[in-house]
């Protein structure tokens, strides 16, 4: 083979290796980028998850009210009625989560959409004031929000 041809083949080989390294570098870079996007998504989902603990007790479906004026407590009878209400309407709000109210020794599943498969479960809870309209009494309950990660 002539010297000139050898030089060209050498240059092509160098360029080939250069492109291979470049492609590997890009793949690694994009993977890092996608990981950072995934991390960002998780961080923001966490914020949504933590906001739910203050949103749920204020929902018209469970919040106490008297003559149309909202009070800072959960109405036990409304909570029971809401728990037995099966409606897809709330699926778009709560997604793959479970919301439980523990009050008066009773465990009320306000919402339950536990996926068949999940990688982790996180729970946050908060004490809530629970009003029982039957005997007009107030007790301390616990509201739990369960979050399922895929």
């Amino acid at each position: 083979m002539k010297r000139g041809q050898l030089q060209i083949q050498e240059s092509i080989f160098v360029l080939f290796v250069f492109f291979i390294i470049l492609v590997i570098g890009m793949v690694v870079f994009y993977q890092m980028e996608f990981r950072s996007i995934e991390r960002m998504r998780k961080e923001n989902e966490d914020v949504t998850f933590y906001y739910l603990i203050s949103y749920v007790p204020a929902m018209p479906e469970v919040v106490c009210s008297e003559k149309g004026i909202v009070e800072e407590c959960i109405d036990l009878v409304k909570a029971r009625a809401f728990a037995s209400y099966d409606n897809d309407y709330y699926r778009k709000i709560f997604g793959n989560r479970k919301i439980i109210l523990n009050a008066d020794g009773e465990k009320i599943e306000l919402y339950d959409f536990e996926p068949s498969k999940y990688s982790a479960e996180r729970i946050i809870s908060t004490p809530v004031s629970v009003y029982n309209p039957r005997d007009k009494s107030y007790t301390i309950g616990k509201l739990e929000v369960h979050d399922y990660e895929n």
């Binding site: 018209p60 479906e61 149309g68 007009k136």
Partner: protein, 276 residues
Amino acid sequence: MNKKGQGVQFNWIFIVIAGVFVLMFFLGFLVKYMDIQDSKQNAQYGWDFKNHILGLKSTEQYSNFSAPRFKINYDCENIIINGDQGFSMPYSIFMEEIDSGEILFWVEEYHKGFLVDRVVFISDASKKYYFDEEYRSNIPPNIRLVSSASNADVVVSSDPLKVVDERDRKEIFVNNGMIEFVDDGERFLYDNDFFIYGAAFSNSEIFKCTQDDLEERFDILSELYISKISYLSSSQSASCTPLYNTLRNALTFSLTAAEIKSSNDNLINYGCEVVF
């Protein structure tokens, strides 16, 4: 041309072709990188926006949201940031397309005899609104109100002389229990001034779907209250039963807000537990 000259020429062609490939590769990478960065930023705005709304919905309030200028569209189910990222927004919202960095939020309770939902009104904070005097009292201070319809970007009035279909502003004509979007001629019945504000903040399409969403929520809550009535009427004195039946009928047949409210308020006058 001698062989040496041909070799030199070939080397140059080779270098130019290889150089163009390397340059295209880097340019492609740069464009893709910028796309990813834009998508990341849009996603962050979307999440911030969504979480901001969820954070506000627990109580009546107003606030402003600042970010570099960006475009938000809402199609009744999702918000779309800069035409790129879509985020599901399963809440009742009145808004239309916004292209701004300063956005205002206003959360107002919608009652139809009882609290149905806290609805979020969203708008460009620089927009100037004109409302007739009778509709001005409820408006929070972060909304720019103007006293003359001619200076406003949005005019809401019962006076036909103030809504004359001027192209550079949005006009809402309120008349005889009817809201009309002057721009497209769409008309809607309303039974609460709340919807007048909704019309000012949205277009006819968003207005309709938010109104429908609130109607669906009202039906769900009515069912929950009917369950509560069944429970209460069995645990309260027999004299309360007819009053609970009246309220049950008001909810079942979706009577007016005033009738639902008075049936509920009447319970307390007879020593019965109110339902809401």
